[in-house]
Symmetry: C2
Subunit: 271 residues, 2 copies
Amino acid sequence: MLSWVDGQDATALNLQNRGLAYGDGLFETIAVRGGRPSLLARHLERLALGCQRLAIEVDLALVRNELLQFAGLLGDGVAKLILTRGDSQRGYAPMAGAPARRILQGSPLPAYPAANAEQGVRLFPCQTRLAEQPLLAGLKHLNRLEQVLARAEWQGTAFAEGLMRDGQGRVIEGVYSNLFLVRDGALLTADLGRCGVAGVMRAALLEQGAALGLPMQVRDLTLTDLEQADEVFVCNSVYGIWPVLEFAALNWPAGPLTRKLQAVARTLLDT
Amino acid sequence: MLSWVDGQDATALNLQNRGLAYGDGLFETIAVRGGRPSLLARHLERLALGCQRLAIEVDLALVRNELLQFAGLLGDGVAKLILTRGDSQRGYAPMAGAPARRILQGSPLPAYPAANAEQGVRLFPCQTRLAEQPLLAGLKHLNRLEQVLARAEWQGTAFAEGLMRDGQGRVIEGVYSNLFLVRDGALLTADLGRCGVAGVMRAALLEQGAALGLPMQVRDLTLTDLEQADEVFVCNSVYGIWPVLEFAALNWPAGPLTRKLQAVARTLLDT
């Protein structure tokens, strides 16, 4: 598949890259359809925020241009964009003047079972808890061992996603997705000020929900909130929305608001 | 400098390596003197523990042999050993059968000011807090953004190290080192069950302290413990021990137990 480093074809990266040494960087996973990156502005917005918070200097206009060019060549697939603080000598202190590295990797659009979107999915109850780190919360950074450990907790296809909680037991997100609850017609999703990845689709749905005049709450969520939910769904920027049918002893239908927003998400991804 | 991937000369790594994608791996920073890796058994022991806890499969005898060979060629310097879960397609789930990758990078022994060991150092009070993640605590894994952020908090040479606390304010460690306190002849160091890196020199000193019959406590440490300490020092497996003279408004002398253990550490590194 297509693979670039700093705008050039490449399949390898300098061993001294800080992405490898420390996970010192950010990434975006971007659906590409018909040569166009979906939700481009939102991906770039999150990346800009991440660069600001981690103090990574990069020409984001260049990143955008490369991504557009890459997507055009990719056609249909997923473009993974990794941005690292660049290369350095040994030691946590960055090397002055070392340019950030821009990595783009193409892969096919994942072949998820159609039933995930049509009927819904089961969530595996992950034991791996998300640590509270406000300085990194919300960012899609390269320190992802918690997700690796959580994903390793289940095998097979019975569970399409796993539910992750924080050290206090709060309900946060899926391993690959954000989580929404519907209750009495209102949309609820977890506050991500302590941990979690603030997904691009989550942000888009919050905006769409506001435009639709839905009551919405971004706040701490507990297992009790899950128990009391009328509908539950997970979302990300590759597949849009999957209804959640089951988590532990709890069950929900793929309800009307989930279906409505699923159509909204599909439109967002296709335009 | 010398640089190997899987036992072969290499300066680059496959872009699909999980070390880059997720920080999915471990590392060791090993002092090499006269072609011999210092504290080899302890480094390999920690690596083995990390592999076990992260379920990374690797032939550790092979790692040991490569490291010995690499150190022989390096002569004097620092060998950084990185072990990653190997390459994979997009997604947190590991690819079945993908071999772990063994990376070795050589660098010169760092030229620390002689005063660090002889007189002592000042600790910068880092605002970056260590998150509590018992599943990763103690390991020297590749998710090191907290250290990157902490190290970026100060510039210049007034501070040779920074002190890191956890989200509850407990005193944990240095950015590059572990911390010991001396009080009434007893040796105190932080419990690393929630966060922190369990350093190889820390382990060696705890063992040496036991052999010397010193009273020792591994427990949660607070700022009050720092205030009440008679001596404070930091340690790692490259420089051994540096006395700590100052942190915030607190001051300590480079005391007798610190000096005694400094000599012990030097011997450990040289043999």
